[in-house]
């Protein structure tokens, strides 16, 4: 059983390590974003009066833990595109005709892509620890564990969508359309509890919002969602995230089982 999961994880990670230019591209992108966006706003909002907005945090300490979650989200979700490449280059047929259960090979695939996106997020976070001293390293193991849960959910979401599609362009279009609003609404860049009510409701539909808030909670001890609804503490958030991820994994398995080569 587990060997079928393992072998596809192995393949996804091997492929990632081979794609050196892609790794470099993602890294450079992330660093530039942190520097220009992060530092830019951090300097703009450096006065004491602004820290009230972030429940006592400065902007960098507010932003950096959230970037860990959003970068995992983006790479995980985009990871589904490899299913489409495999359709185009034929490798998918090799997997579909093998006796290994499809639900397990797809789980291995999701796990492989999740590990890749967590590594990516951790590189991002390493820069974060370099930029500010206000992050608490004790929360790191919890943040990473939570990262794995969300990564599995979002890679599954990508895989489920990719299973039903044939062109990488179409997939990119969908991913682009979903990624942007989810990232903005997640409260990663501004405190979502200050936003209009209707935006807050939209934000609470998206599981990324919980992931961002949890990550911030683990690394700084500050949660913004519980100031919107007191019952929305970190325990509830984690539970909601777990349920969503599990549901997405099951959907991905179902979708992939039904994939044909037509």
């Amino acid at each position: 059983m587990i060997e079928y999961v393992y072998i596809m994880t192995y393949r996804q990670i091997k492929r990632f390590i081979r794609a050196k230019s892609r790794i470099a591209g993602t890294l450079i992108n992330n660093i530039l974003w942190l520097l220009f966006f992060g530092l830019g706003w951090a300097y703009t909002l450096r006065g004491q009066q602004f820290q009230v907005l972030f429940k006592g945090l400065d902007y960098l300490a507010f932003l950096l833990p959230a970037t860990f979650a959003t970068s995992i989200f983006q790479t995980s979700f985009m990871g589904g595109i490899s299913v489409i490449w495999d359709k185009q280059f034929g490798f998918l047929k090799e997997v579909l005709v093998a006796p290994a259960p499809r639900s397990l090979t797809i789980l291995g695939r999701a796990l492989g892509d999740s590990i890749v996106s967590i590594v990516n997020g951790m590189i991002m976070l390493a820069f974060g620890f370099g930029l500010t001293s206000k992050l608490n390293p004790v929360g790191l193991p919890l943040a990473i564990a939570m990262g794995l849960v969300m990564a599995l959910g979002f890679t599954s979401m990508g895989i489920a969508i990719a299973s039903a599609m044939t062109s990488p362009e179409g997939f990119q279009l969908i991913v682009g359309t979903i990624t942007m609003p989810m990232t903005l609404l997640s409260g990663s860049m501004f405190p979502i509890n200050m936003a209009p009510q209707w935006m807050q409701i939209l934000a609470l539909i998206s599981p990324l919002t919980y992931a961002v808030d949890l990550c911030r909670y683990y690394l700084t001890g500050v949660s913004l969602l519980d100031s919107m609804y007191p019952w929305l503490n970190h325990g509830t958030e984690l539970l909601l995230l777990l349920i969503t991820s599990l549901a997405l994994i099951i959907v991905a398995m179902r979708m992939f089982e039904r994939t044909t080569i037509e």
């Binding site: 060997e3 079928y4 393992y6 072998i7 192995y10 393949r11 091997k14 492929r15 081979r18 794609a19 185009q88 280059f89 034929g90 490798f91 998918l92 047929k93 090799e94 997997v95 579909l96 005709v97 093998a98 006796p99 290994a100 259960p101 090979t105 044909t260 080569i261 037509e262």
Partner: protein, 330 residues
């Protein structure tokens, strides 16, 4: 007689198009069985159904004794497949491709390592095992796919156009591997091809398929004896378009213009027909440059059955796309 593949009235419909229109055949254990036909005849569709990737619209098929619709998992365990289009992971090495394949088929450890070495040596790719498949030539990739398909020593091997787009030497090479596979492991082999020579050289039995139907089946000799005739080639000084209509001799079944100024005539017995043909052409004042004859080929059989040549049959748009895709990938 034990059958490794049985197919009964198999039908596959895509919307209103019938790709496979009720075919039936059986393949015995250890046999090399070939589907010969033009592009778009339904060969690949049949392979996809037999390898459990497509569900048939109607009919029944068993592979290794298991129903392809009801027991796909059991079928998958018994078969190896080389698809017409490449299905390798180009970013991984040859060794890694085989390693992943082996694990997906439940092999591991020392046994898997030995199998990989054996398979890679069999197709003479052992020294390239640590190179990424991206850098392999078209022929090397095909060989790697064959090595991969035989890695788990399947009972039945499916080969969809195994030598399409390859140069003559590589093709001959791959034919050797296929024959060797049957000799060493007793593998039952089902292959599709649109090359007459390939079908004739490799297959114990051939089914000629056209427009989703099997129109003839038997050994190459049996198929050719359907015509019970020879083909006479006459090269003329000038080719007059209507020359065929003027040649009306008893015993000439078919006349067609082939390349250059040559016409091909299907006759019962060449040695008797040639003098008569020459006399007739002389009377018509048509100058003859060369005359030759040969036994009919499978192509002649195909023409006899369908009225056109295999290579004349136009590629469908999907086929053209695939060829272009292949050109880009390789």
């Amino acid at each position: 007689m034990e059958y490794d593949i049985t197919v009964e009235n198999l039908v596959k419909r895509y919307g209103s198009i019938e790709a496979v229109r009720g075919i039936s055949f059986t393949v015995s254990r250890g046999e090399i069985f070939g589907f010969l036909g033009p592009n778009g005849a339904g060969k690949t569709t049949t392979i996809h159904i037999l390898t459990t990737l497509l569900k048939p619209t109607a009919g029944k098929a068993t592979v290794a004794g298991y129903d392809v619709v009801k027991e796909p998992d059991k079928v998958r365990r018994c078969i190896g497949v080389v698809f017409q289009d490449p299905s390798l992971d180009l970013n991984l090495t040859g060794y890694e491709n085989l390693f992943i394949h082996g694990r997906l088929y439940g092999l591991n450890g020392q046994r898997l390592r030995e199998k990989i070495e054996e398979a890679l040596k069999f197709v003479e790719l052992w020294e390239f095992r640590d190179k990424e498949v991206k850098s392999y030539s078209g022929g090397m990739r095909r060989r790697l796919e064959i090595a991969r398909a035989m890695l788990h020593t399947p009972k039945i091997l499916f080969l969809d156009e195994p030598t399409i787009g390859l140069d003559p030497q590589t093709r001959a090479h791959i034919w050797d591997y296929i024959r060797e596979l049957r000799r060493s492991y007793g593998t039952t082999i089902f292959l599709t091809t649109h090359y007459m020579d390939e079908a004739e050289i490799l297959c114990d039995r051939i089914a000629i398929i056209d427009h989703g139907k099997i129109i003839a089946m038997g050994t190459a000799e049996e198929l050719k004896s359907m015509l019970s005739s020879d083909i006479v080639y006459v090269k003329l000084e000038h080719l007059n378009g209507e020359v065929c209509s003027k040649i009306s001799l008893e015993g000439i079944k078919n006349c067609r213009v082939v390349e250059g100024n040559t016409i091909a005539l299907q006759v019962r017995k060449a040695s008797e027909a040639i003098p008569a043909i020459l006399q007739l052409l002389d009377r018509l004042e048509i100058r003859v440059l060369e005359v030759s004859y040969r036994r009919p080929s499978l192509n002649d059989v195909f023409i006899h059955l369908t009225g056109r040549e295999i290579r004349d049959s136009e590629a469908s748009p999907a086929e053209t796309m695939r060829m272009r895709h292949r050109a880009r990938v390789r």
